[in-house]
Amino acid sequence: MPVYSEKVMDHFMNPRNVGEIENPDGVGEVGNPVCGDMMTFYIKVKGNRLEDVKFKTFGCGAAIAVSSMVSEMAKGKTLEEAMKITPRSVADELEGLPKQKFHCSNLGAQALNKAIQDYLSKKKEGGKK
């Protein structure tokens, strides 16, 4: 087995917030199958807060655990707070990730950020109309 922390194993075996949100306010997709990991994050925003966060992930144990952890960290946060989630803080919350997995699987924060950007740009366009 890869050397994963107990926290990683817990989030891998029992991932939180798996799934899609119908009519999401924002969607963020990162990764590609060549490098091995792909993540899609869906968000629902209410009054500048992340009311709901869900994800779908194709990837290794670490990638699934990262996605689960990011969704848990982000839920209920304001958009500004959520955008401060970094790969480092995710890895810390997971009690560490194997060195060679840090970059390839730790895409959750980026995917969440993309989903928030998606929401913000849609809102801007909506505002113009």
Binding site: M1, P2, F12, M13, P15, V18, E20, E29, P33, V34, C35, G36, D37, M38, M39, T40, K56, T57, F58, G59, C60, G61, A62, A63, I64, Q100, K101, C104, S105
Partner: protein
């Protein structure tokens, strides 16, 4: 294990205390030779299958570099052949990589076409450990022999599990390792036909007729010999028992799980070897969930490799990176039973389903299916 206790003498010593160890190595050499139908004095003990392959590729090429500097290997060789071939390139050799078909089979005509006037070595594996395909070595070796080019085969996956006879295969050098047939880890052997020249990798004393210097690992060598003897005795029975188990898993799993691709040759494969790619999911997460249910498998996905690259074998067979990510390999052993196969067939479908429910690739695929584009995507 007396070779870590009472019989501690150095086999190279002339005094009586070395005799026991020397005798033990001698009989191990005979046991290993017997396994592959060779003469005992043509066996060189090494530290692993990797060392045997390194020795063969570098040693055979270097010994003949005055005749030419071209080497041909298949694209699906183990890294312990491909990487020494890369090293030869750095040393001024040219290396041709021979392609394989979708089953991982090397076409003898492609080997023929790759040969040149300055080719000094051809190396094609006997069987591929990742996809199980057994190569037509006899035909390929005959092509090399017609032109007097030394031919090496990496038989690490076959020696001890399927019949290997160096005379029947018509090869000039062959690598094997003990850990493939219940021998100790960290010991291997290279067989070289008498009269074929090889440059040693390790210089020093005159152990192994001066071809591999260094004090012998007596307990490991004795273990390799014993494992070879047992493998030979039980081989026919093991093949007879494992082949139907293998075929059942190969046939049943794709019936129970949609979008599973069998990798390697459907029939012409190692007796206990079952390999698949499960689409839309990644091999390491599948491996981990199977492990949590007591099923040990391996995978060639990028995430399971330290280099984070998908298996070169699967890519050489023409599979996409996306599909290669879902690679999973079962090796059945002497303890595997029909009940074990039942257990895998029951346990694996819900695990695959669970990972697919999580997979954005599967979600996209399902949406395309609903959109009525079934034929386009299949």
């Amino acid at each position: 294990m007396p070779y870590l206790g009472d019989i501690f003498g150095n086999p190279s010593s002339l005094h009586d205390w070395g005799d026991g160890a020397r005798e033990a190595i001698k009989s191990a050499r005979e046991q290993v030779a017997e396994l592959i139908g060779a003469n005992a004095d043509e066996i060189i003990f090494t530290g692993s299958g990797t060392e045997s392959n390194n020795f063969a590729i570098k040693g055979l090429a270097l010994a003949q570099q005055n005749k030419g500097k071209h080497v041909a290997v298949s694209a699906i060789e183990h890294f312990s052949v491909l990487h020494p071939a890369k090293t030869l390139e750095k040393w001024g050799f040219e290396v041709s990589e021979i392609p394989v078909d979708k089953y991982g089979v090397v076409n003898p005509d492609d080997v023929r076409r790759s040969l040149r006037k300055d080719t000094v070595l051809v190396s094609i594996m006997h069987a591929n450990g990742e996809v199980g395909t057994i190569e037509p070595i006899r035909e390929i070796a005959a092509i090399a022999r017609e032109r007097n080019i030394p031919f090496h085969t990496d038989a690490v996956a076959t020696a001890g599990t399927t019949p290997v006879n160096v005379a029947e295969l018509g090869v000039d050098a062959l690598s094997l390792a003990g850990n493939q047939f219940y021998g100790p880890k960290g010991v291997g052997a290279l067989w070289i036909r008498k009269g074929i020249r090889i440059m040693p990798l390790l210089d020093g004393g005159i152990q192994e007729e001066g071809r591999r210097a260094g004090t012998e690992n007596v307990p490991a060598i004795v273990g390799l010999g014993k494992a070879a003897e047992l493998a030979k005795t039980h081989m026919a029975g093991r093949i007879k028992r494992l082949t139907p188990l293998r075929d059942r898993l190969l046939q049943e799993l794709p019936k129970r799980i949609e979008h599973v691709v069998v990798t390697g040759h459907p029939q012409n494969r190692l007796p206990g070897h079952v390999s698949f790619c499960v689409e839309f999911i990644e091999g390491e997460s599948l491996l981990m969930l199977l492990n949590s249910r007591g099923i040990a498998v391996s995978s060639g996905s990028a995430c399971t490799s330290r280099a984070l690259k998908a298996s070169h074998v699967l890519i050489a067979m023409g599979l996409s990176h996306e599909i290669a990510q879902g690679s999973v390999l079962f090796t059945l052993g002497i303890d595997s039973t029909s009940e074990d196969i039942d257990y895998v067939l029951e346990t694996m479908p819900p695990i695959v389903d669970r990972l697919r429910q999580m997979s954005p690739l599967y979600a996209k695929f399902s949406k395309t299916m609903k959109g009525g584009k079934q034929h386009a995507s299949l």
